[in-house]
């Protein structure tokens, strides 16, 4: 399997790709990290550069064709899963790290220590509403902590405000939206806000509350034998 960290985990929040690799290594999972990773094309599709997106996607597809792909980013996941078949007419075999983590825990490949912690989970739009992936991250969180849901969760989850090119073109708007989501999380009384998308983590990071990617959160709970 090839691990495709995606631009944010690779360049901005390296701690996420590091945590991911640390967990996979600990579990003895067979994978290699993508070399010369190219863009998945999501950002170009969402901001209207359709022709540029197609070029980039074709180039990326050539490198990935026939491989099993593992991603950190909800945006990459949705794009590979949904937009590649739609734009290029070619399916890609892709899984999100949440699904792998869920399996590794179920198979006993990693063991998690429970702690007296309250955690709330933010559903990334690309993973939740767009792809219906709600259960795996919740199962995983419950191995280490008590899950407390925000008022708006699962398919109703309020967007963190980063997506669709808004963070780059209207940074203030993105910040205002992220503050509202952090407020939602604070209302649960949670100690940590966990999500499964580097781009969401980046936008939600706040002085008011600890925000982590699920991989970072789980890495800290692994029982090393």
């Amino acid at each position: 399997m090839i691990y495709f960290p995606g631009c944010t985990a690779r360049l901005k929040l390296k701690k996420i790709s590091q945590a991911t690799q640390a967990i996979l290594d600990h579990a003895g999972f067979n994978y290699r990290v993508m070399e010369d990773e190219n863009c998945c094309g999501s950002v170009l599709l969402r901001t209207g550069f359709r022709e540029d997106a197609r070029e980039v996607m074709e180039r990326t597809f050539k490198k990935l064709k026939g491989q099993k792909l593992l991603v950190s980013c909800a945006g990459c996941y949705r794009t590979f899963k949904e937009d590649y078949p739609e734009v290029l007419g070619e399916p890609l075999d892709v899984v999100h790290i949440n699904q792998i983590l869920d399996e590794l825990i179920l198979d006993g490949k990693i063991q998690i220590e429970r702690e007296d912690l309250k955690v709330t989970y933010h559903d990334p739009c690309h993973l939740g509403r767009h792809r219906g992936e709600y259960d795996a991250p919740r199962n995983i969180i419950k191995k280490r902590a008590t899950l407390v849901e925000m008022d708006k969760n699962r398919e109703e989850a309020r967007c963190c405000g980063a997506g669709g090119g808004v963070k780059s073109a209207y940074p203030q708007l993105s910040e205002d939206m992220s503050l509202r989501r952090v407020d939602d999380a604070l209302k649960t009384g949670a100690d940590v806000l966990v999500t499964s998308c580097p781009f969401c983590v980046w936008n939600l990071e706040s002085e008011k509350l600890k925000v982590m990617d699920l991989t970072e959160f789980i890495r800290r709970g692994i029982i090393r034998g």
């Binding site: 631009c7 690779r10 360049l11 901005k12 010369d36 990773e37 190219n38 863009c39 094309g41 950002v43 170009l44 599709l45 969402r46 901001t47 209207g48 550069f49 359709r50 540029d52 070029e55 980039v56 739009c125 509403r129 767009h130 708006k152 398919e155 109703e156 309020r158 967007c159 405000g161 980063a162 997506g163 669709g164 090119g165 808004v166 780059s168 073109a169 209207y170 708007l173 205002d176 939206m177 509202r180 989501r181």
Partner: protein, 402 residues
């Protein structure tokens, strides 16, 4: 919209959201939703045919019909009817807001009296825009409202709901004396019956329909096949917009006032309007139905903005006039043009998809927004920052500079 108004608006939205939560899950609501989806999809697939039928049947019922291709012609036509009046009365209508009817009439020296309480308050408050299609004053709290009303009426009005209502009502009723023209919208138009269906809670539309002349401005997209369909549409709209099963009033208007009580001789002009005039507004809708048909499935409940993350931090500046939120951005392209669509917030949508989930018609707004972005970018209507990101991706394989 300033921070305090946004806070009040979001609080109002939260209350609405809670009030309607269980009603939205009831089997009867789900069944009605399915039925309305069928009705609206069929109607937009047969728009030309239904509009011709509606026109024919309304005219047969003695209603005057004018087909207005654009905002200008709609405004001019309405002005020609009311020329000479000092003051006209009006109920809440997002379509009149779309064509700046009030502003236009006031420029021509005709005062427009809003009769909906929320609208009247917003009208008195020159500094703000309506924040919800059904609850236009959702962004103002009691203190602010009392201040606005006191200032407008030139007397101290106590900051309590009842005294505010009484003060505004008294002023409106006083001004209504001697007004001969009422302007309303219509929530749905029944083509086969030649009938207009209007929904209200305050009773003000009934008053408008009793004026000598009742003018109805309605978008061509409001048409459905039958009156039963129209009732289904407005029932669902009411549920989603207010959390109540039915509005206080549903007025059906299909003719000027008439009677045949004396030897079956048809006599006109009993209590209600002497003339009913319907202005069907196209204003780009024929174009929209060709390119983004789904945007016209809308029944105007405002559900899409209640949980929109962008609307929650911007208010009505995300959207176009009274077409609020992302769907409003989409239709602004057809009501106006690509530049205005971009200014309305084409690139502000995070494409999160919550509006589609909240919408009783499941209008795929993010899909339309993404498609229109693609078409606008080809014409050079884009965000500078996105352009830089595009260059980064192509040069470095990542959107980031470093």
């Amino acid at each position: 919209m300033d921070k305090s108004q946004l806070t009040i608006m979001n609080r109002s939205f939260r209350i609405l959201d809670k009030r309607r939560a269980s009603l939205l899950k009831e089997p009867a609501t789900l069944k009605l939703k399915e039925r309305v989806q069928e009705i609206r999809k069929y109607s937009m697939d047969h728009l030309d045919e239904l509009i011709s039928l509606a026109r024919r049947n309304l005219e047969e019922n003695d209603v005057e019909v004018f087909m207005a291709p654009d905002a200008n012609q709609a405004r001019d036509y309405i002005y020609q009817i009311i020329k000479g009046e000092n003051r006209v009365a009006k109920s809440k209508s997002n379509t009149t807001g779309e064509i700046f009817l009030t502003e236009h009439l006031e420029e021509e020296g005709v005062e427009v009296l809003e009769t909906d309480l929320g609208d009247r308050i917003v009208q008195m408050h020159q500094k703000s825009l309506p924040s919800h299609p059904v609850g236009p004053a959702a962004h103002l709290d009691l203190e602010m409202i009392a201040g606005i009303v006191s200032e407008a009426l030139g007397k101290e009005v106590e900051a309590q709901p009842r005294p505010v209502l009484e003060a505004v009502k008294e002023d409106i009723l006083d001004k209504l004396m001697g007004i001969g023209v009422g302007i309303t919208g219509a929530n749905s138009v029944a083509a086969q019956d030649g009938a207009l269906l209007m929904v209200h809670n305050e009773g003000n539309i009934s008053l408008m329909s009793l004026m000598d002349v009742h003018i109805v401005l309605v978008g061509i997209d409001k048409v459905v096949p039958t009156l039963e369909d129209a009732v289904s549409v407005v029932k669902l709209e009411t549920i989603y917009a207010t959390g109540k099963k039915t509005p206080a009033y549903m007025n059906v208007v299909s003719s000027p006032s008439k009677t045949a009580d004396i030897e079956q001789v048809l006599l006109k002009d009993m209590y209600g309007a002497k003339r009913v005039v319907v202005v069907f507004l196209d204003n780009g809708r024929s174009e929209a139905v060709k390119s983004e048909k789904e945007s016209l499935w809308c029944i105007g409940c405002g559900s899409c903005i209640v949980n929109c993350p962008v609307y929650g931090v911007t208010g009505p500046e995300f959207g176009y006039r009274r077409h609020l939120g992302g769907r409003g951005v989409v239709v602004s392209r057809y009501l106006e043009n690509d530049e205005i669509c971009s200014d309305s917030g084409l690139f502000k949508c995070t494409l999160c998809g919550n509006c589609t989930r909240e919408c009783p018609l499941e209008i795929p707004t993010p899909v339309m927004v993404e498609k229109i972005r693609g078409e606008c970018v080809k014409e050079g209507i884009l965000q500078e920052e996105h352009s830089k990101i595009r260059d980064n991706v192509k040069k470095r394989g990542s959107p980031y500079k470093d």
